[in-house]
Amino acid sequence: MKSCMESQVFEKLAKIASGIMNPEIEDWKKHGGKVMGYFCPVVPEELIIAAGVLPFRMRATGSTSTSRADVYFTDFNCDFPRHCFNQALLGNYDFLDGIIIPTCCDTIRRLLENWLHAGIKPSFVYQFDHVHASREVMVGRERDQLLKFKKSIEQHFKVEISDQSLQQAISLCNESRRLQQKLYELRKMDSPPITGSETVAVMVASSSMPREQYNKDLRALLDELGAIKSDTKYKARLMIVGSGHDDVFLSGIIEEMGAALVTDNTCYGPRLFVQTVEEGGTDPLLALAKYQVMDTPYCPKMMGAHEKRLQLVLDLARDYRVDGIIGETFLGCDPWGGEVFMLRSELKDAGIPFISYEREFVPSLEGQIKTRVEAFLEMMGKGM
């Protein structure tokens, strides 16, 4: 599926998503702003924003090697954190004033100790030991952990995060969620005005720039997209399910093969916006805790929530009229390995064609994956 979009706003967001440092961060820093890196959406950006700090979701866009990080990790570790760590060792994250490393998986969790051991900037490194099971009784524990996290930011950055500022940050992020939902809604159309690859760029940009500006840009983009009359033809409507790929490797292949990537359930996809954080309550920390533990347990490391994750996949497949789903996981990611195994039989039961493959962070085996996508399309009777 080809893009029919010519938009300066999109070009700006795509540029932000295509590298680590970008003009928005440069401008923020130039004005004395602080930037805090964080891994995974289990870390609530709202707390960082409420402290007046710019959250930056860690990624290794453009990285081609793990040679330095390989001193600290082995090939059996997922290479996404290894690439990130390599970037850190190269000094490409030196613009950060702090970094939050959650206990979301074994390899990412260990980044903290290696970060400290290697003496990489910044000096503020915090481990967010969040809850790993979706049970109502655990919401209180998550709130306690968020409170510790909040105090730690307040102490380090010498700021106060008031309930009011946190409520404002929640509203700001909810606004992003609603706008992103609208963006995805467009992809439900018979002929979506934005491609899957383009959508990935817009989603990735959200956690790499000031949120107010992102919302403004996304609103402008939505206006432009609303005016596009697309009549693009495609062979099939596909969906990707898997871990947090911040590149357009698979979406690019899908589109090159003449299919449309109409939705996804990845760490940069709908799981970021299908729910909003409760606003207007008396305890914003509790609202964030409930959001993480009960409303969005979409990372397979969250125990006791596979049914919810499956339901999200089925709902997305239905709402976006998906013909087939491709599972894409990083080599060495145990939680997603198990999740994809379970989905395989569950999607078969639901009558939804499904294939899966494992990949390295740096795109490789392109020819092989093209062949598999092509075979998948043919299997669904959509090959010609």
């Binding site: 001193v71 600290y72 990790f73 082995t74 059996f76 570790n77 997922c78 206990t103 998986c105 074994d106 390899t107 969790r109 260990r110 980044l111 100790e113 290696n114 051991h117 481990q127 030991d129 809850v131 790993h132 099971a133 049970r135 009784v137 655990m138 524990r141 306690d144 397979p300 490391k301 125990m303 006791g304 596979h306 049914e307 996981t329 080599l331 060495g332 990611c333 145990d334 939680p335 997603w336 390995g337 198990g338 999740e339 994809v340 195994f341 379970m342 395989r344 899966s356 494992e358």
Partner: protein, 411 residues
């Protein structure tokens, strides 16, 4: 009776229990009408023992499946099921046993996130395994912070898990019986520690397997059972005698003392082969592994809350692999160096098992710590459950070469 006969007798008494780790054993329990409970890993063994519930520890069943005839074929079949190509082979086999219906339908299932992501994933798979749809399930979340709050958080869940077990099985936990089990477990804990102390003697009086066997009996298979106490007492008496006589293991001229900081050598078939060969051919004694290095805090029976706190601490801090996987790399490195000193080791071997993502991510910190301590360290990088990835002879050769270049073979 000479002391070799005593050790032979002790070994004979326990060898028949190896099958208690097999899937077949739990199926037989179920076929006999016993209620079997299942867990993604070892947890709440004292409670299971007090309630008289056979405990199907899925990871242990998986590990055992790599050590019995047909292992290679079984591993290949499990790989074909595509659980993830870099998954730990032990967990992969546990998933295989589950998904091929070789585990009995349990009366209750408890899953948790210790010790690693692979086991967490196994738990999720078990929770969603269709033939177990009607099995009552309970999930526990362990904190990675080892502070008091983190321990209390897990202790509270353990207490809830016991209520869950009572409801699921219809069996009431007899508090007096639990106290008995815990008191006996505390005695056994003391004995295991005494035994470790004796092992520090030069020359080392026993082979490495005894601590492993003691741990398996006391902590899991027969937790709190008085015959294990008796068995441990006889083991200690025989070992003590050897220490008094300054006697090492028969036929071994001890020249090198090393420790294996991994569960690799726990595997009876592979570990025994490599350790025995190193001992016989090079006089190298395996002093400690991290399954044997466990269980040193007695269960506090002063109140119910104190007891559950002890259970939580034991589970998170004092169970082989939970301690190593859940705590920080710095704590791991500290353990390695301190234990090596305590046991007068010349060197440390880490297998670098390819399934241990959390340990694959701490090598540099351990290397650096050992370097500063002047302690030679070898990290191999093999699959401890599948010798086709790296054969036992290659593993042996790597360790031998390591000893050679460290100058230990010239002694």
């Amino acid at each position: 009776m000479n002391d070799n006969n005593v050790f032979d007798q002790l070994k004979a008494e326990i060898s028949k229990y190896d099958r208690m780790m097999l899937a077949d054993y739990f199926r037989e329990c179920s076929q006999k009408g016993m209620q079997v409970i299942a867990g993604s890993d070892i947890c709440l063994y004292e409670v299971a023992a007090a309630m008289g519930l056979p405990y199907c520890v899925m990871t242990t069943v998986g590990g055992a499946g790599t050590q019995i005839p047909g292992a290679a074929e079984r591993i290949d079949l499990a790989k074909d099921m595509e659980f993830g190509s870099k998954l730990c082979t032990c967990v992969r086999l546990a998933m295989y046993y589950l998904e091929t219906g070789q585990l009995p339908v349990p009366a209750a299932l408890i899953t948790f996130n210790t010790p690693c992501d692979a086991v967490t994933t196994l738990g999720e798979m078990a929770r969603n395994y269709k033939p177990w749809a009607n099995v009552p399930k309970f999930v526990m979340d362990a904190s990675y912070s080892k502070d008091d709050e983190g321990m209390k958080y897990f202790a509270r869940q353990m207490k809830q898990a016991v209520s869950f077990l009572e409801e699921a099985t219809g069996k009431k936990l007899d508090k007096d019986r639990l106290d008995q089990v815990c008191e006996e477990a505390n005695k056994q804990c003391r004995l295991l520690l005494d035994f470790q102390e004796l092992k520090k003697a030069v020359p080392c009086p026993v082979t490495w397997t005894w601590a492993r066997d003691g741990f398996r009996l006391a902590r899991w298979m027969f937790c709190g059972d008085p015959w294990v106490t008796d068995w441990l007492e006889r083991l200690i008496a025989a070992t003590e005698q050897r220490v008094k006589e300054k006697k090492g293991v028969d036929g071994i001229n001890e020249k090198i003392r090393y420790m294996v900081w991994d569960p690799a050598m726990v595997s009876p078939t592979r570990g025994d082969y490599i350790s025995n060969r190193l001992a016989k051919e090079l006089g190298a004694m395996n002093m400690m592994d991290y399954y044997s290095f466990a269980c040193w805090t007695p269960i506090d029976l002063s109140s119910e809350d104190a007891m559950y706190m002890s259970f939580a601490k034991r589970h998170l801090n004092e169970t082989g692999m939970s301690r190593q996987a859940m705590d920080t790399s710095f704590a791991f490195a500290e353990d390695v160096a301190r234990i090596a000193r305590d046991f007068k080791c010349d060197a440390i071997v880490m297998t670098g098992h390819i399934g241990h993502k959390e340990q694959d991510a701490l090598h540099e910190i351990v290397r650096d710590h050992c370097r500063k301590q002047g302690m030679p360290l070898l990290i191999i990088g093999c699959d401890i459950w599948d010798e086709r990835v790296m054969s036992l002879d290659v593993v042996y050769d790597k360790i031998r070469t390591f000893f050679e270049v460290s100058g230990f073979l010239d002694r």
